[in-house]
Structure formats: C-alpha cells, structure tokens
Symmetry: C2
Subunit: 257 residues, 2 copies
C-alpha cells in the first residue's frame, strides 16, 4: 500500500552566512547512512536558508522612520523592529492591539506576497541577541539552487520545499507553509478529474507544497534543531517551473483584506 517515511536529518550545525546548505545536508545524510533517491523531498526551515544567505539585520543598525515610530506606539513594539517589518512589506493588512495585551499584532503582505504576522521577521533561534531574521530574498531561487546541487550529487530528481511557520486567522496555533519551491508542484490541480464515484471535482486543489511543509512540522520542532526533514516514498509529478507564489490568492480575490 502507498506509504511514506518522514525522517529528520540529525546534526545540522548552527548555520552562518556563507555556509553551503547542500553540502551540510549531504554530510548529515552520509553520517546517518542515508542518501537521496529519485523522488525524495526535503523540507528546509526558512531560518537556515536565511542565515546561510545572510538575510538578517541587526536591530542596532536600523533607524526607525516616522511611520514606524507612530505604528510602534500603537502596538507597543520596538520602532526599529517595526521599521524592518514595514520595509519587508508591501501592504499593512491589519494592525490591532487588545487593551489588555502588552504587545499588538501587525499583519502585513510581505514583499513576496505572503500574508503573516510581523512580515515573517523573526528574532528566535539566533545566537546573536538583537538579530532579526528575514525571509530569503528569493526563496524559490534558493530552493532551486539547493535542489540542483543535491540532484547533481545524488544523480536523481529531488524536490525542495522551504517552509516557514505562520498563524491562521480563524484557528489557533501555527503550521508550516511553503515559501520556496523547487520541482514540487504548489497545488495538486484536480480540476476536470472525477471523484471516486464519477462526479466531477469542481474546485479541488490540495495545496501539496503546504501539506509537505505542514507535515514537516511534526518532526521540525521549533525548540529543537531539526531544520531539514526528509520525505521518502511520496508520488509526485515534477514541475520544474513551480513557485511558492502559485500558493498565493490574488489580492483582488482576497475577501478579508
């Protein structure tokens, strides 16, 4: 019967600017006596990609604009962090502070199109106090570079998903979603296919890349150091031009903007 195995890659060290992630992944796999086979998929936490690419900024290097200072007052955040959030964003979606809460919430549309809290700017899991980790400049390109290096090394087709952890408007808790893709289709388009009883499936499109990212969260605990998760056994159709933005609802279709 169809079956897939999800495994952590142990021993990934603290990643710093300039580190070669593909080489580090190969070393980790070799160390646990594994290799990549055709169709294997890796989900990689955005943080290690951002760190390797130097997509970070130190808060002491940031000067807050007037807009950031105003907004920071409203939500009781460091104006320099708000400045970074604003510069990573193309649109404020929602700003809210509950009277009893210490800090408010800034939900924005990131320059890459993802809607999330604080433009995905993150200050946890860095060993440098005051360092803010941003999304990679072009996460699809990052995924494709890593996929290419691994495909070359193992001489097989490899899928890559770069994931980040987002909240959801109506559900508590966070899940991982895909912010960068190589070879993995964003959506499994089923339009035109029939359901198990011959009825046409109208608008069904499982968000394959987000399902993979979400599944990686089962082993990629935030307090642990498991930023790379290996999937073996899944059947999927390679889509070399896939991109994470295929997962984004166009702004004009957003009913909750």
């Amino acid at each position: 019967m169809p079956s897939l195995t999800i495994t952590t890659i142990a021993g990934i060290p603290y990643i710093r600017k300039g580190d070669d992630l593909a080489a580090i992944i190969i070393e980790g796999l070799t160390h646990q006596v594994q290799k990549l086979d055709d169709g294997d998929i890796l989900v990689i936490a955005q943080k290690v990609v951002s760190k390797a690419e130097g997509a970070c900024v130190h808060i002491d290097e940031v000067t807050a604009s007037d807009q950031a200072i105003q907004l920071a007052k409203k939500v009781n955040k460091d104006p320099r962090k708000v400045e970074v959030i604003l510069s990573e964003s193309k649109r404020l979606v929602k700003v809210h502070k509950h009277p009893n809460a210490n800090e408010g919430i800034i939900i924005t549309e990131h320059n890459l199109g993802h809607i999330s809290a604080n433009a995905a700017v993150d200050e946890s899991n860095t060993d440098t106090p005051g360092e803010l980790i941003l999304l990679p400049k072009d996460p699809d390109a990052s995924a494709k570079r890593i996929a290419s290096a691994l495909s070359h090394h193992y001489q097989c087709r490899v899928g890559i998903v770069i994931s980040d952890t987002f909240g959801r408007p109506w559900r508590l808790g966070q899940t991982n979603v895909a912010i960068g893709l190589a070879n993995i289709p964003a959506l499994n388009l089923l339009e035109g296919e029939l359901d198990a009883y011959g009825r046409p499936l109208k608008v069904t499109a499982p968000a394959l890349a987000d399902e993979l990212a979400g599944a990686s969260g089962l082993l990629m605990s935030k307090q642990g150091k498991c930023p790379v998760i290996l999937f073996k056994g899944l059947e999927w159709a390679c889509q070399p031009d896939s991109q994470a933005s295929d997962l984004l609802r166009p702004t004009k279709e957003d009913l909750f903007a």
Copy 2:
C-alpha cells in the same frame, strides 16, 4: 533519528449508515498484515464518519426558508443547499459573488465553530445524487468512540484525528484540518520553553492536530478511496480531554470577522 511512517489503509469499502468504522479499520489493518501499536495515530476523513453516523440529508427532503431563497439568489446556488448551509451555521462570515463567476461563496461559522466555505456541506464522494454530507454531530465524541474500540482491540493507546478539507483566506488550494480529536493534543503548547539558543519561545504553539490532518492529505487523495491514514513513530503526549474546539480562535479575537 526520529522518523515516522505514514501509510494508507487499503480496501475501506463504501461506508453506509450504521457501519462499524472501528471494525472496518481492524479488518483493513489485518488484511495488510498490520496492527496498531502504542502511540499509533489514525487520521480519518470526516466523510466516512458522517456516512457511518447518517449525518447526511437529501436535497429533495429540504424546504428552503425565505432567508435561504434570498441568499441563494445572491450567490446562484440551490436554495435547498443554502438552507442546509444556514441550518448548519451559527453565523454568516462572508457572502460574495464575483460578477463573472457562475456561483458565489458562502463562508460561515459552523455550529461546531469551524469557519469554512458552505458550512463544510459536501456533495462529492457520495454514490447518491442529491445527497449532502454534513459534519458529524459531535466529531470529538465520534473520535473518542473509535479510539476506545481500537484501544480495546489492540490493548494500546491510540490517537484519532477526524479531518476535513478546508480552504484558506490568503492561500490557494485546500489542506486537511482537524475537526474531531481523541487523545491527540490540539496544540503542542511550547509557552515557557526555550528555543535552541536559550531564548524564551513566546507564543509558539504548533497546531499538532492540524499538522497531522494536513500530513494525511499527502496520501488521502480526494479522488481516491483512502479515507483512513495510519501514522507510526510520532512521539506525542496523550491528552484524554482534548477537543477540536481547542483549535478555534475565539470570535472576540477574530480580526477578520
């Protein structure tokens, strides 16, 4: 290294009212020479639970109210289907029809608290034209009944997630989410714990039950007949009083109502 295996349970027949899902799952497992071990988790598609419990209504038996007729005109849907959607819901969240679209969208808060399109009323994957499948009356109770029967049979602790397929406001495609739970914690509360670099994790709570549901979508294809997915190898803390409503953001905290 930590590793988990996700497998389909093959040969689940078409489920009808009164069917004993636990017995059918045991038969399926036995047939593929598997059994449940301590800590195993099953994600079960809502549809088979609803069918087994008779949580269905035939559209010919429905009389549309005036409110349903008005709303149906606005979104170009069958007023009887709209009547069912309204009777399953406690609140309309958003009604929208794009001028060029054939049908509009009705997003509601289901009586159980979940916010989704059409109050999760479903007309696919039934062999009876005109039959609408509703959510189970009390999906947590359904999950706990199935967990209890399986725990008794295999003499071990079993986790159950009942899943349904929901869209997301800002991302295209659907993912499975948890609508019923037995033993599985809804959220992995990490508050108070430290990240890998000793920094406190403020508000991190991976939505474990939704991660499991989402992962099941990798093998539970909508056009296939794989409504039961088995997870082996995940470490989790049993929470006998868990419930799917732990995943719901309270209405007063909903910034997008």
